[in-house]
């Protein structure tokens, strides 16, 4: 990495491997959203304006289930709440940049740019703010264009696929695939298990509100499990 002095180029290289994850994910979103009845313009506006894959899948699934608008919004926004942590973690490094620059960076603060930047800033915390900003934009450069291009390609493909190819199951499979690598600690497994059980038990609650209750319970369970584990380790 030292061969490249430009922080922008180093950022590009650091996030390039994520392209392999982003492209199929965006393709699938394009296909699934089109199959759900959205047209090309709607699909593109969706990906451009929200720019957060998991919440976009969640919103499509819930809108298709005819959940009320408020429930769709609450659930999809809750999926994105993890980004509060990203915003907190980036502030010591990027907070001194001009407001306009920060406003643009906020739009591009996604899982991949965060992961790559966080690793770099922890390794080299003493570089000038301008270099950190350049690195951050470097991490965005391979990801964002591919996200939009692959969404577009997926939407075009989706319009050509007949509706009876069991694509109903693409969303559940995608979500399970995203969740599996998240189960990296006991509290994460506890949270996921509570989420599944509570969502099934509460699925009779009106307007999809059962999921929100299940999410609250699961989050609490995860946090409590983490605390309990810490206490056990200290004892």
């Amino acid at each position: 990495m030292a061969a490249f002095k430009s922080p922008f180029v180093r950022g590009c290289l650091a996030s390039a491997p994520f392209v392999i994850v982003v492209v199929p994910f965006a393709l699938l979103f394009g296909v699934v959203a089109t199959e759900a009845g959205l047209d090309l313009l709607q699909v593109m506006l969706f990906s451009l304006s929200v720019f957060a894959g998991a919440s976009q899948f969640a919103a499509v699934q819930l809108m298709q289930d005819q959940a009320p608008v408020l429930v769709v919004l609450a659930t999809s926004l809750a999926v994105n709440l993890r980004m509060v942590m990203y915003s907190v973690a980036m502030t010591p490094h990027l907070g001194a940049a001009p407001l306009g620059t920060r406003a643009v960076m906020a739009y591009f603060l996604v899982d991949q740019s965060f992961a790559a930047s966080q690793m770099e800033f922890e390794r080299h915390p003493d570089q000038p703010v301008a270099d950190k900003v350049a690195f951050f934009f470097g991490t965005v450069a391979p990801i964002a264009p591919m996200w939009f291009a692959a969404t577009f390609a997926g939407a075009v493909v989706g319009e050509a696929i007949p509706p009876d190819y069991a694509l109903d199951f693409a969303v559940p499979i995608t979500f399970l695939a995203i969740c599996a690598p998240m189960l990296r600690s006991i509290p994460h497994v506890v949270a996921a298990a509570v989420s599944i059980l509570a969502a099934l038990v509460l699925s009779g609650m009106p307007y999809g509100t059962g999921l929100l209750v299940a999410a609250g319970l699961a989050m609490t369970a995860g946090a409590l499990a983490e605390q309990a584990l810490q206490k056990m380790r200290r004892a």
């Binding site: 969640a58 993890r82 907070g95 695939a177 995203i178």
Partner: protein, 106 residues
């Protein structure tokens, strides 16, 4: 099918809300630490919602009129197991998809 009116309310609101979440500390709250309890809870948001969102669709798929379907159940299990074993999102999606179509085709 997604209702057009729902779409045009949900997407702008979701876009704005998501942007504000990202902008929050970087933009106007500045350099401060989150309370420990809040930080702990935020760590588990995604894993608290996504499994619960798909669980009913796995057990009672809409495509079969809510009847539990062995093909879809098997595909879900394979996806989860491959995902846990390989940590590869794409590998898990492919394995699950192949399982689903293989069983449906048999």
């Amino acid at each position: 099918m997604i209702d057009a009116a729902t779409f045009w309310i949900v997407v702008p609101a979701l876009a704005l809300g998501t942007y504000l979440i990202r902008f929050s500390f970087l933009g106007f709250l500045g350099n401060r630490a989150l309370p420990g309890a809040l930080q702990r809870a935020l760590r588990y948001t995604a894993v608290a919602i996504l499994p619960g969102l798909v669980a009913p669709a796995v057990i009672w798929p809409a495509a079969t009129g809510g009847q539990t379907d062995p093909a879809r159940l098997a595909a879900a299990c394979v996806t989860l197991l491959v995902g846990i074993a390989t940590r590869s999102v794409i590998g898990a999606i492919l394995a699950g998809g192949v399982t689903l179509y293989a069983i449906l085709w048999l």
